[in-house]
Symmetry: C2
Subunit: 347 residues, 2 copies
């Protein structure tokens, strides 16, 4: 009648005839074991169906193999796509990922980060670069490998990989101006919720301001489902007094599509009477009856690059602090050259 139910490295050591330290070294792949002995130990571990106790390993080494990943929401094509890009790299490097959704709440994010630190997390991935200041300081002083993803800045907590949202907004703005649109509007979520969207809006606004268009109507909707939010926001926007916008940009493609469906229902000619532009260039666009003009962002590549850099960083390598990935304007059927002078005025 055996006492122990699980086999530990001590058991393997006894079976092979070495100390548990040698087994530990062999299993972890650190040096100090002859190739022959290592093979023998690995074989025995396999035979005995050894399973490492990760909590014990974490406690003894003061470092776990957990990576905490914080994202605002799962209800978006952005974060699942980024996550998907990171998954393979991370799991292949032997890490387990603890995912948290913050609903765009900084306080919740900070609290969750503390919890991950209680786990001796090997690294952290945070969405965007806008975080609670105390958390930033804490992470920095702890020197824990931290990847900020999706947005970039010159002074990340540790490292970052993303796109320049302001520049992307400007790029879209230049395109819309080149088309001849002059009365832009923007449909988004409540201010401060999605800070990347706010930056894109700022870029768009700056671009139009350069061309002498200072006015920009912004409609903000608080609905979770993006299709619905886009539709509701567009309806509200079109009901407003004053001149009707001639082009509407949206937080993302899903919302743009919601807006497009409203325009069609109201028999508003798109893109002649009103242009529609989205953001993110989702696969959605490839099947829609009319592809939406959008800005393509390399989400999956962002995940891959980010994960690679984070892993390298955790292995002590020196990596680029900030990586900016390019975005690309993708013209669809929802914008076109309209009546007004097509040449942009400013530089």
């Amino acid at each position: 009648m055996t006492r122990k139910i699980t086999v530990g490295i001590k058991d393997i050591g006894r079976a092979v005839g070495v100390s548990m330290m040698t087994v530990s070294r062999a299993l972890r792949g650190v040096e100090g074991v002859s190739p022959a002995m290592r093979a023998e130990i690995l074989r025995m571990a396999e035979v005995m169906d050894y399973r490492p106790n990760r909590t014990a390993r974490s406690l003894a080494s003061a470092r776990s193999s957990l990576i905490g990943i914080s994202i605002p929401t799962l209800f978006s094509d952005v974060f699942p796509e980024i996550l998907d890009g990171m998954r393979a790299t991370l799991s292949h490097a032997g890490f387990d990922t603890v995912i948290d959704t913050t609903d765009y709440d900084r306080t919740r994010e900070a609290a969750w980060v503390e919890r991950m630190l209680d786990w001796n997390a090997a690294g952290l991935v945070l969405s965007g670069i806008d975080h609670a200041p105390e958390m930033r300081d804490h992470l920095r002083s702890l020197q824990i490998p931290t990847l900020e993803i999706w947005d970039v800045c010159d002074d990340p907590i540790d490292i970052c990989v993303g796109v320049d949202h302001h520049a992307a907004g400007e790029m879209l703005g230049r395109h819309l101006q080149a088309c001849g649109y002059r009365r832009p509007a923007f449909v988004s979520v409540p201010e401060g919720r999605d800070r990347r969207a706010d930056k894109r809006l700022a870029g768009l606004r700056a671009s139009f301001a350069t061309a002498g268009v200072a006015e920009m109507v912004v409609e903000r909707v608080d609905r979770r489902a993006a299709f619905v939010a886009g539709a509701v926001g567009t309806e509200a926007l079109l009901k407003r007094p004053g001149p009707r916008p001639d082009v509407i940009a949206y937080l993302n493609d899903h919302m743009a599509f919601g807006g497009l469906s409203v325009c069609e229902r109201l028999a508003l000619p798109v893109p002649q009477a009103v242009g529609i532009a989205g953001f993110n260039g989702l696969e959605l666009n490839t099947v829609l009856p009319r592809p939406i003009t959008t800005v393509r962002t390399p989400l999956n590549a962002m995940g891959v690059t980010g994960a690679r850099n984070l892993v390298a960083r955790m292995n002590g390598a020196v990596v680029a602090r900030s990586i900016v990935l390019p975005t690309r304007l993708q013209e669809g059927d929802t914008t076109c050259v309209v009546g007004v002078s097509a040449a942009p005025q400013g530089e």
Copy 2:
């Protein structure tokens, strides 16, 4: 110059003047500490900014506060919605969730479960009821709290919460027959990939068979984006030789919408010439120009119920082994009563 960088329960004990065991008890909320002393310890822990070391706790108690959640994919509205339902309950109960996506690969799921066991996971959540047999046996022998969610059966590994997919398929079938449709088709992903979808198809088929319709064309597409898959599948389906189907059911609403857009492009009158039906009753439907006939599933409630039961189960309570949540047929604009006799023949 202080040596220790982190404060442990020993430090709190010293500060308050009690043993570390009393501190441990006070912090965990177990009995054996006077209310006054407990308050004092809690206050001191707050003051000293104590943070529990979760790896040490897990090692000593042979049980961690990690819950492993395995889902096939994040690219679906189903699993994020279920996850969202579970999140609050689980985090409120003090658990951290490790999420893994399996891409409908049983082997990968089994390997990942083993890894979670290496973490002394407090519990597991698996999607569906179809798993690697060895894994089932292993989990059962370990007696680890396991929730199977989204699909149900009489003999779950431990407990399950979900809907009856076969019955849902039958319900949809009865409705389509009542409408008068007689040449049904189904667009789905490759067989065996999404086993719930296969069950819905089986239910649909059984229902039509009862009414004397044995033939059912099934088109299977292997594309990740559901919109695209629906569109591509529908195109392929309509190009087939033989009589054209008079109603097409899809794996989910997104695919149905992709199919609908193809029909519109081909100027096929929906729902007169061809009916369209989806599955899941997503919020998407509330904004589409034409709502799709679908089957509503209580995804969020499923997550909430599942999480509650799992937590209760982990606390040693006795809970229902199997909970079946109701589905509801939601009629949209994409099906209607057509020419043929509208009365269903069978019972």
